[in-house]
């Protein structure tokens, strides 16, 4: 395929992944996930006390809030929050903590159009949520949900060979003929009929599809191919998440509050520690 991407990536290349456990002070788990500049931050609290009106007798109430980077959340945020709740629920064993609340907040860190979250940003929100849930470690899980965005381009010059690309940037998803997000639940199937798998990646099952094509396509295989590419992307994310687990512990020691070097009022510039460039200890690039 002669299609070339603006940033020079191959069709099946992701942007660099960022996984950072944020250790936000007032929640039970938090993490940031990014595909290049497309980033989201998620926090999880729970099981905590639930309001009586939302209490469920046989399982924990799972509450999801999604917030855009700019302005106020509208129906697009509510819709993504509802999808997140639906697609993450199969990965959670909510029945273990009845009459409690599991609270997930996802903060987009990337500007998005008012109408909707582009597929890669939605995928970043999903992956950040899974990381925050893993980081909280307080709700047992059946597996891990990972997601990736896919976009479809049709070349006008050549004879109709559509190009599917993984992890489209915002501008790519705007210009693409079609785009969407696919989320998969990675878990070992324990249903009796299947042989017990021995390889290291557990089986994946589709939990969310959100695929739109602008001019319509009568090619039945296109959706399946997009889904397969999404799965390939999600698999590498699953491995990256697994690699990141040791980072949940052990930050490098914080700089000692050495008053001598600080200003008169004790201002200590911590920027090097917090800024993105120097997060190497907590970041992996794949």
């Amino acid at each position: 395929m002669s299609f070339t991407r603006p940033d020079g990536r191959g069709n099946e290349d992701k942007r660099p992944l960022h996984i950072i456990y944020e250790r936000l002070d007032r929640v039970d788990g938090s993490a940031r996930f990014g595909f290049g500049d497309t980033k989201a931050l998620a926090s999880v609290s729970g099981p905590i006390e639930v309001r009586l009106a939302a209490e469920q007798p046989s399982k924990a109430t799972f509450d999801v809030t999604v917030r855009p980077l700019s302005s106020l959340p509208g129906t697009e945020s509510k819709a993504l929050a509802t999808s997140l709740r639906g697609l993450l629920s199969p990965s959670l064993i909510l029945s273990r903590n009845p009459r409690t609340l599991l609270q997930l907040v996802v903060q987009s860190l990337t500007p998005s159009p008012i109408e909707s979250y582009p597929p890669s940003l939605a995928a970043a929100c999903i992956n950040a949520s899974s990381l925050a849930l893993l980081n909280a470690g307080s709700i047992p899980m059946t597996g891990v949900v990972c997601a990736a965005g896919v976009a479809l381009f049709r070349s006008t010059t050549e004879e109709d060979i559509p190009a599917l690309v993984l992890d489209p940037s915002e501008s790519e998803s705007r210009e693409a003929v079609g785009c969407g997000c696919f989320a998969f639940l990675f878990r070992t199937e324990i249903a009796g009929s299947q042989p017990l798998p021995t390889n290291d990646t557990p089986g994946a099952r589709l939990v969310w599809t959100n695929w739109h094509v602008k001019d319509g396509t009568s090619d039945d295989g296109e959706l399946a191919r997009a889904q397969a590419l999404g799965l390939a992307g999600a698999e590498t994310i699953w491995r990256a998440i697994k690699q990141s687990v040791p980072q949940m512990d052990n930050l490098p020691p914080p700089p000692l509050p050495s008053r001598s070097t600080a200003g008169e009022l004790g201002i200590i510039t911590q920027s090097d520690e917090v800024s993105d460039q120097d997060m190497n200890d907590a970041k992996i690039e794949i």
Binding site: E22, L24, D25, R26, V27, S30, D37, L41, S43, S45, I48, E49, R51, D63, T65, R67, L69, S70, S71, L72, Q103, V105, Q107, L109, P111, P257, G263, E264, L265, G266, I267, I268, T269, Q270, S271, E273, V274, S275, D276
Partner: protein, 287 residues
Amino acid sequence: MRPPSPSIAEKDFFFNALNQNLRLDGRELLEPRQLGISFGSELGHVECSLGKTRVLAHVDAKMVRPEAQRPFEGLITIHCELSPMAGSEYEPGRQSDEEIALARMLDKIFRRSDAIDRETLCIIAGERVWHLHLSIHALADAGGLLDCASLASAAALRHFRRSEVEVIGAREVIVHDSTTRAPVPLAMHHTPFCVSFAFYSPPGVGREPRMLLDPAGLEQRLAHGMLTLALTPQRELAVVHKAGGLPLAPESLMGAVQVAARRARELEAWLDVRVREDWGRKKVEVR
């Protein structure tokens, strides 16, 4: 859901320590917590930390028609909603008192104090102006949320640059991409910085309350009175806000203002260096 109130042990120990001029995190009475800042890849995206308190501020601009009564002025909207990410006491969909107080204070500090020159946001009088959206997201509230939010806001406003625009004829407007023409920083009249103090009534009568700069979580919750000052490095006061019933002598207030003024100068200098550093990095990228 509110966090449970501090235990008797914590409360007693805190006041014992205070009597010995000791703070729980080892700070001096007038020593602030560590500051941190990081910038996003686009302009106007800043995260600040003050100890464990963290706030994200984001500024963007959109062209709109001005209000009929003020055809020469741009618009500024501040969005500030607290989510449970900041703490489980902030419930989604319900406005808490803290949220209202925070939003009001930020409005006073940045909008009503005329921090930004709104006339420079005008493109064509009566036709087109810039509408700035400042969105504040509290990521973690471990005390001093307002100070951190105002610092993040100031940083985001300083960091932000809007696209250069060119007016051709009466109505045509060309917006230049940041790659063709350098974007323009906001014209700010002044940058107010917010500094908070906690006061504790001493045992015995007639003695002045003790004062702590930049109270953290437990310090803030056990405070008998709070004082928040927003002031510019040029020693102009933008906001004075006292909460809690504790009476203060004028000297205490003046003392606090002196400390805050010094702190504002420090913050200004620090922020200036940070923003310039980041801009230096970004310019290299643009080329």
